[in-house]
Symmetry: C2
Subunit: 252 residues, 2 copies
DNA sequence: CCAAAAGTGTTCGCAATACACCCATGT
DNA sequence: ACATGGGTGTATTGCGAACACTTTTGG
């Protein structure tokens, strides 16, 4: 075992290695066992609308309600690793297809009626999926649901997951402007239209296609063109260039 | 489907990765007790330089090293409340003088050699303090130290607190641009020069005083003038207007 | 008078917006 | 020919940077 001292804890026992007379800080008498979980807000854009992956609970509390996927942090793993593992276990999505970013932690004493749980929420972004990822082998029903339904109170969530989703979406909207995460909603090769529809779905606005084109192509290091095109749709139109994320191969 | 080359799933692993028959992660057998703490990154600007409040540890591990103030979350309190309580206990600063914002959570299995601890870091901002806040009754030595010394490796910190400080400062620098938190570094009434020096200290730049004046006065809801002035210094100069944060009294 | 600090005006360049226009395809 | 969507050109506007300038004080 890699981290031996971490496993020695049994619930409720103060750690024997800390005989410290510190009243305010690490006094072991103040030690209280918590359960620590990670919850995943997996987001994707399907059909021009932002979706979040939810799991229908099969047991109380909140039986039948929809909730975020997640689970306990294991004794020997980092928070980030726990989030990556849970994502893989519950959706089959590995780290190469999604990058996790921490949203925040939630620890209201009564957020879980069974015990004291602090959860660390992670946001994950994946390219549009044709299939709904399945849960990890149990009967749990996993589905991509519209964020608008959650935020419009048409789809109540278990625990404080509504608030977590709100925070994740807020963060996403802000990051979309300042970072280059938008292309994570797209497959490896994508058209500028697809990229624009990601912004439009998340910001709930319409963007001028011409200006978007310029903005996104001029911003260097953001996307690079391939020499491939996409045939137009049924109703015609000029073929669109396919682009990839990031710098051109030998550049900068 | 419109763009049939949506082959994004082709690289995907078979989703049969179902090592555990765990119902959505809440299998009680997976429960592992953790200690949960809060750490406070209390920041202030003194003498045109950004400082962080540190406490010198009196016991192992990291005896003698500087660390962030913090402590255990109690069984019946929210994370935010725990942070506010710790701040009050260790510095005497109440919630009316500072607002806490969550920075992130840190849970490396070996971040604390004594036991498995997950900490939730909070940032706090206070107006310039003439005195160093004192610790909460024990012999712990508390002092405001330059952030530059921490980030320049001249002042190593205990645990992973260096990284927490880095994250808090990054967040602060970003929030300074997008939110109105800057005036929290100032007393209730302040001059525009004081406000500018906050930005300059945190961003480590020099700002044009004239442009700053306009920007900050034109942005509505940000600051409002009082009818009071501040006498100039020894070397003369025009008296500066005193301003307060926020909207004028009866406005909007 | 000069120095110093507060505060205003003026100009320039860039970047976002609006929107006209051209390009390449399907029917 | 016409519709449709990809992509470019162009005029306008607003904002930030640079910096000259005015105002109000102390010496």
């Amino acid at each position: 075992m890699k981290y031996p001292r971490a496993v020695a804890l049994s619930s409720g026992e103060p750690p024997d290695t800390t005989p410290e007379p510190r009243p305010e800080g690490y006094n072991p008498s103040a030690f209280v066992p918590f359960a620590v979980t990670v919850d995943i807000v997996l987001m994707t854009v399907v059909e021009r609308s932002l979706k979040v992956l939810l799991i229908q609970r099969g047991h109380p509390p909140y039986e039948g309600a929809w909730a975020l996927p997640g689970g306990f942090v294991q004794p020997d793993e980092d928070l980030d690793s726990a989030a990556a593992r849970e994502l893989l276990e519950e959706t089959g999505i590995g780290h190469e297809r999604s990058r996790l970013l921490q949203i925040g932690s939630y620890g209201d004493p009564d957020r879980d009626p069974r015990m004291r749980v602090v959860t660390v929420a992670y946001g994950a972004i994946v390219a549009r999926l044709s299939d709904v990822p399945r849960g990890g082998g149990d009967a749990a029903h996993a589905e991509l649901m519209p964020v608008a339904d959650v935020q419009g109170d048409r789809l109540p969530l278990a625990f404080d997951h509504r608030r977590i989703v709100d925070d994740a979406v807020d963060r996403l909207r802000a990051d979309l402007e300042t970072t280059s995460i938008a292309h994570r909603f797209c497959p490896p090769e994508f058209t500028i239209r697809e990229l624009r529809e990601v912004y439009e779905a998340i910001w709930q606005t319409e963007l001028d296609s011409g200006n978007f084109q310029r903005k996104v192509t001029q911003r260097k290091g953001f996307i690079t063109p391939t020499d491939r095109r996409v045939p137009p749709g049924d109703k015609g139109g000029r073929p669109a260039t396919l682009w990839t994320a990031g710098e051109p191969e030998g550049a900068e």
